[in-house]
């Protein structure tokens, strides 16, 4: 038996079933909560912290993607403070590594770029960190540019949960953290990688890309072969 919970998001009454996240219910009701690490079809880690929302009665902010709905909760997603926090998170992601759109393969089809526009991030206030962190182009078809990676770990999750290969994982700590293939060996030498390209499909930025494609050739050729990854499939094709 499924229990239905009624509660409020931004003052309007909504209903969700047991086990649904706040984010899922908000999306169903057309309420937009910015996210970066979340992708339908993959498990949620609550790591980008963009989707944090306020729940009445709790002094803590809670991520909408991992918080399950409960009866009578009163969620607010759009306070000025939240928007400020989100803008700072995006700003920090931009400054953490090199995200110069003009010379990026994902220019104009990048989730980070879109979100920055949406949140009206028009200048940086914090210091730029951007250390040179290298590119691994040893794979025959794909390459990873760590300078563009925002550590959403969608690639790690899709490789483990959908492809079942678990080629990708994470190593390091602090801002030295990296996604790595096969415990840190070059991607081209990976024995577990099936070259399926799912990681490239789910990457929100220009970190993972197909070789031999110019910026002008547009998107990462988002073929609809991962239909369960909804928000990728819905993205408008660039002409």
């Amino acid at each position: 038996m499924t229990t239905v919970h009624t509660f409020r998001i931004n003052g309007s009454d909504v209903a969700g079933t047991d086990g649904q996240s706040i984010l899922a219910v908000a999306t169903e009701n057309g309420i937009d909560i910015p996210t970066m690490c979340h992708l339908d079809g993959l498990s949620d880690t609550g790591s980008c912290r963009l989707c944090v929302v306020e729940v009445a009665g709790s002094s803590k902010l809670t991520p909408a993607c991992t918080t399950l709905v409960s009866e009578g909760m009163d969620v607010s997603t759009t306070s000025e403070q939240l928007c400020g926090y989100r803008r700072t998170i995006i700003e920090m992601l931009f400054l953490e590594r090199n995200h110069i759109c003009a010379v990026c393969v994902a220019n104009n089809h990048c989730d980070l770029q879109n979100l920055a526009e949406e949140l009206k991030l028009d200048h940086f206030e914090l210091p730029v960190i951007a250390p040179k962190v290298g590119i691994d182009a040893s794979h025959a078809l794909f390459a990873i540019d760590h300078n563009r990676c925002i550590m959403c770990v969608r690639c790690v999750r899709v490789c483990d949960e959908v492809e079942g290969a678990h080629t990708w994982d994470v190593m390091g700590s602090g801002i030295g953290v990296r996604v790595v293939t096969d415990m840190g060996t070059p991607w081209g030498e990976s024995t577990s990688c099936t070259s399926c390209g799912k990681c490239v499909q789910v990457c929100p930025t220009g970190a993972l890309f197909e070789k031999g494609r110019s910026i002008g050739e547009g998107s990462k050729e988002r073929r609809p072969f991962l239909p369960y990854l909804k928000n990728q499939a819905q993205e408008p094709e660039l002409t």
């Binding site: 880690t45 609550g46 790591s47 912290r49 918080t67 206030e125 550590m151 994470v170 602090g174 801002i175």
Partner: protein, 556 residues
Amino acid sequence: MSESAPSAPPAPPKRPRRAADGLRPLEGPARASAYVCEAVSCLSAQSHDILLKLGEQVSGAGLKDVEVKRVGCLLLCASGPLVQIPGTGQLFSNVRPDDLDAIVEALADVTPGEQRAPEAPFFSRQRRIATENSGRIDPESLDDYVEKGGFEALRSVLTSMTPAQVREEITRSGLRGRGGAGYPTGLKWNTVAKAVGSPKYVICNADEGDPGAFMDRSVLESDPYRVIEGMAIAAYAVGASEGYVYCRAEYPLAVSRLRKAIHSAGRAGYLGLHILDSKLGFEVDVRLGAGAFVCGEETALIASVQGGRGTPTTRPPYPAVAGLWDQPTLINNVETFANIAPIIRKGGAWFAGIGTSTSKGTKVFALAGRVVNTGLIEVQMGTTLREIVFDIGGGIVDGRAFKAVQTGGPSGGCIPAEFLDMGVDYESLVGVGSFMGSGGMIVMDETSCMVDVARYFMDFCREESCGKCAPCRVGTTQLWILLDRISHGGATLDDLAQMERLGAMVQRTSLCGLGQGAPNPIFSTLRYFRDEYLAHIVDRVCPAGVCAIEPAPVPV
């Protein structure tokens, strides 16, 4: 016995029983004893050589009825190696192996049967519960522990109490988690007991990572059986059958003593199936951490025990409901478990009678920094900072002026002199912008620069951030850059305002306690020492003379 029963494991090779490794056993009862500290800080100052030499000299002097014994921490760690004569209460510090005559002489004069504690205020002002056996028993001897009343609490729990009664006793005691946050232990035990799922697990968190804190290490090195007993009682109370001690690999002596203790407790029937012929079956295993500070956070700890990368996950679900392998899991700190046996032995009401209205019992602190007596102390909750720093700690070295005391590690704060008369408990520390934490207490005098202190802790957090969530990963580095700029004299007042804004954001949006607590050292130093920040920014001077201020740019 039926044939299907497993054959008994082969008996281990017999070793002669010795008072301590390398010493001959005593034939009769001891008239006098000399306790030699063999916890790691004294060991690193060659206390084992002293143990052997003292043994030689004692027998050389014909003192056949004097026992030389290895014990755990004698508390005054910075003055090691330490030797104590419990018969007279004398404590010899900074002992050298070629200078033991005074000890042998003192041993010759001991009146049998007398026991005296050292009289110095460092010892007499303490109240020892969690560390009551520390420095009194041989940490590697089960017999010694049992002789001092060890495993009595476990026996009485198994023979005369129901699990619910045990939990009620712990609830009545008012014991709160000693890992830092102070969550009521009885409530946690009740939650795990009520959670649905089998098997349940008990985990002892011995991943002590705060800079300058070594309370858990000392308890494990000095009295490992007490922790095991506490875990076994917890297992009975919540219905768990397996336990893990998650200890950092940087504590090799603690790990080895713990493993020996688990082994010998198992052989003596205090662990394993049918503990003390009861229905309780409980096994304990040790898991080593690989040096990540964040693994002290309970969800990261669980990930690490499971063999994964030690990164925290969002709560709820709490480990009490879905923890290790998604089963109900009780996680308590070493010191919390060390308090269990005395509570059962003497009753929850006794424990509740100690301390303040909200914080019961005692707290172990690692007293460090610019005080005369540095070492381990256990004081009643509510003891004032003045008592701790000036009576127990003996005041500031070189007679300098007291400036602040830092508690709570990288999530804590600095408490200035105006709060010296404040009693220390969970609430009072939070009230002044600090945090109990696991019990590190660093005393600072006028030679410490508060900007530098904040910068040091931020540097620690930025390296120890696991890198999972963006606010902590990038935010701690950004805060460190700003602090670094201030400490070099290159910052503006805008930078200061920026730092405060960013700090508040990191505090509110980070995933786990590491990020949420990381800005605390900044906020607490800003609250009480804003003038020092302004001196760095506006006047470009470091009042304490610590920071290397770069010369101001020449206006063109």
